[in-house]
């Protein structure tokens, strides 16, 4: 009986989902790719204004200047805060983080972000208290 229960418990542990990463782990992934991560560079990146086609684009256009604040999509939908301190779900799913980097870097910079930019930006979000 005890052995069966122990086996069951072991199975449950093995079957537990592994997607629940922490923001720190996600920073680690990008840091590994880039070699380093600077929160200060990430902050500058977040506020940078990019002029293209007679318009200015920036992360803040949708996310506001404050990573703790709720932003708004072009279609008027709320965007939950970027900083993990204000939104516990942020930076917990590596696939989701990559998906939004890919989309938003293209929308703001008209190109994909480098590993360095990603590492710096994640470091900045984690530095927000």
């Amino acid at each position: 009986m005890k052995f069966t229960l122990a086996c069951l418990a072991a199975c449950c542990l093995l079957a537990a989902p592994t997607h629940a990463d922490t923001p720190q782990q996600i920073l680690g992934l990008y840091q590994q790719q880039a070699g380093s991560a600077s929160a200060a560079h990430g902050e500058a990146f977040f506020h940078a204004q990019v002029a293209r086609d007679g318009k200015t684009h920036s992360c803040a256009s949708c996310h506001t200047d404050n990573p703790r604040a709720i932003g708004k999509t072009r279609a008027n939908k709320a965007i939950e805060p970027l900083a993990p301190v204000a939104n516990r779900e942020r930076l917990t799913d590596p696939a989701k983080v990559e998906k939004w980097f890919k989309r938003n870097c293209k929308d703001v910079l008209a190109r994909e972000c480098t590993a360095q930019e990603k590492a710096d930006f994640v470091a900045f979000l984690l530095s927000v208290k």
């Binding site: 072009r74 279609a75 939908k77 998906k99 890919k102 989309r103 938003n104 293209k106």
Partner: protein, 174 residues
């Protein structure tokens, strides 16, 4: 006048006929009170990350297929998805499209108003939308709280539940 079987029959027939007429009246915007809300989790989550999850019954299958092929430039934004998500969402949208066998009466009206060679990307460009909104003056669309014909929720207070009944409309004053 005595109540005869004949007059009763006429009365019943008239009531029945008026019931049918009410049932197909345009008083609430159409014979069916609502579009089927998005019932596929991935579709609902992915679409609603940026905007209202528009019901699949608003556009024909060929419109959804084209849209899902062009997600890298989705009305000026990159909305690209993983290949698996793209396949699953395309399947849901086309299976429940305005010209699918599952379409309700209202969706079928949308579909028959679209030329066979057209694959409109905006519901607001369909003849059905224009017909139902033809009394809305041009200036109203420009009000700050409305701004876009895609912003259903600005006037249709229950749009997020796929309900567009006339009595639920509140047009913002500015």
């Amino acid at each position: 006048m005595p109540v005869t079987r004949k007059s009763l029959a006429i009365l019943i027939a008239t009531l029945a006929a008026s019931g049918i007429w009410l049932g197909t009246s345009w008083g609430d915007g159409g014979p069916v009170p609502t579009f089927a809300p998005v019932a596929h989790k991935t579709t609902a989550n992915e679409c609603a990350a940026c905007h209202m999850a528009y019901p699949a019954g608003l556009l024909p299958a060929r419109s959804w297929t084209r849209m899902m092929h062009e997600l890298e430039n989705h009305f000026g934004e990159d909305a690209s998805l993983s290949p698996e998500e793209t396949v699953a969402i395309t399947r849901y949208l086309t299976d429940n499209a305005a010209d699918s066998p599952r379409a309700n009466e209202r969706s079928r009206r949308i579909a028959i108003g679209i030329a066979p060679g057209d694959a409109p990307q905006r519901f607001s460009e369909t003849a059905y939308f224009r017909y139902l909104h033809d009394e809305v003056p041009a200036g109203v669309w420009k009000r700050a709280k409305i701004a876009s014909r895609a912003n259903c929720i600005a006037c249709h207070t229950r749009a997020e539940s796929s309900s567009f009944a006339e009595r639920e409309i509140r047009i913002p004053k500015n």
